[in-house]
């Protein structure tokens, strides 16, 4: 392994130090904050786009962040198969940058929802799910006003057929139903991956479910996946 995980920081990102702490202190893997003006991601093994309100959500969430110099480096990194994880606003940036399909609308309830909930792991085989099993139920927090995943029916079919829906909102016992779909997302989608399966985006915050001092730690297990993945592939 080289430099470990690059946690990108945009103006308005607020989940960057939480992610850094989770990787360094809970998972025990090298991680660094990388400024949005950086033009290279050389030497890093994985990249994380953290949560927050980059550029104040101006125009659309994540729209302006796409034009940061570091996103050019990110595209090349992703094209070469490098593992990329987008958390919440990070997921939004990945979609605006067209590294993941679809878009995020306002939550059906129009409320900003900040709460613990459950997601089911629908599909593995990504660098970010190596430590969890398919059909496992994870307890994670969400905190967003625009998490309502939308894509046209053809895209949703492609995601289903390609096993690219990675996480779905579910009940505590793993039922994927309308009751557990708290934000109106198509097909209860909480996270997806790209065709190459190296880029994953999800709305819940694994970095906020990593420290036993603060509550459930299923998030640390997700993040530990990248350490397992890198150990095997390095």
């Amino acid at each position: 392994m080289k430099r470990g995980v690059a946690v990108l920081t945009f103006p308005g990102s607020n989940g960057d130090t939480d992610a850094l702490h989770a990787f360094q202190d809970q998972v025990g893997i090298a991680a660094e904050l990388v400024d949005y003006r950086a033009t290279s991601l050389a030497g890093f093994d994985a990249v994380v786009l953290p949560g927050g309100f980059s550029y104040g959500d101006y125009l659309r969430c994540g729209a302006i962040a796409c034009f940061s110099p570091v996103v050019d480096a990110l595209r090349a990194f992703a094209l070469r198969g490098g593992p990329v994880l987008g958390i919440c606003n990070g997921f939004q940036i990945l979609m605006e940058a067209q590294l993941l399909p679809g878009a995020l609308l306002k939550n059906q309830s129009l409320e900003f929802r900040s709460e613990w909930l459950h997601v089911r792991v629908e599909s593995g085989n990504t660098p970010w799910t190596a430590a969890v099993k398919e059909r496992e139920v994870l307890t994670l927090p969400v905190a967003h006003g625009l998490g309502n995943y939308y894509a046209d029916p053809n895209t949703i079919n492609r995601l289903r057929e390609g096993a690219r829906i990675i996480f779905r909102y579910c009940s505590a016992t793993g039922e994927v139903d309308s009751d557990s779909n708290f934000n109106g997302s198509a097909d209860n989608i909480a996270g997806i991956c790209n065709a190459g399966r190296n880029v994953v985006g999800l709305m819940p915050h694994p970095e906020r479910a990593s420290d036993p001092l603060l509550g459930p730690t299923d998030g640390a297990r997700l993040l530990r996946s990248i350490e397992m993945f890198l150990a095997v592939t390095a």
Binding site: L59, L105, K106
Partner: protein, 94 residues
């Protein structure tokens, strides 16, 4: 070629078929105020761009490209120019 400055009013709205909870909430509010005649509300954005161009079609082409590249999310939004007018007649630059 003479370059002029055009003021373009661009309207960005959710595509038909995309759920618009904001629009539904606004409709609900109007309904509570006693306005029962509303069939549908869609909420979007209005951008005003002052653009240099050589002709109306030149400016329209520029704006359409900008809409695709940034101003409207092509997955969930549609955009249209609702009005455009010459702000400043230019001097010949040819």
């Amino acid at each position: 070629m003479t370059e002029m400055v055009w003021r373009v009013e661009l309207v960005v709205l959710p595509k038909d078929g995309v759920n618009d909870p904001q629009g539904e909430a606004v409709k609900g509010g109007l309904d509570k105020l006693g306005h029962r005649t509303i069939e549908r509300v869609r909420v979007g954005r209005h951008l005003q761009l002052d653009i240099r161009g050589t002709s109306e079609s030149d400016v329209r082409a520029q704006v359409n490209l900008m809409a695709v590249q940034l101003l409207a999310n092509q997955v969930i939004e549609q955009s249209s120019i609702s009005a455009m007018s010459v702000l400043k007649s230019g001097e010949a630059t040819g």
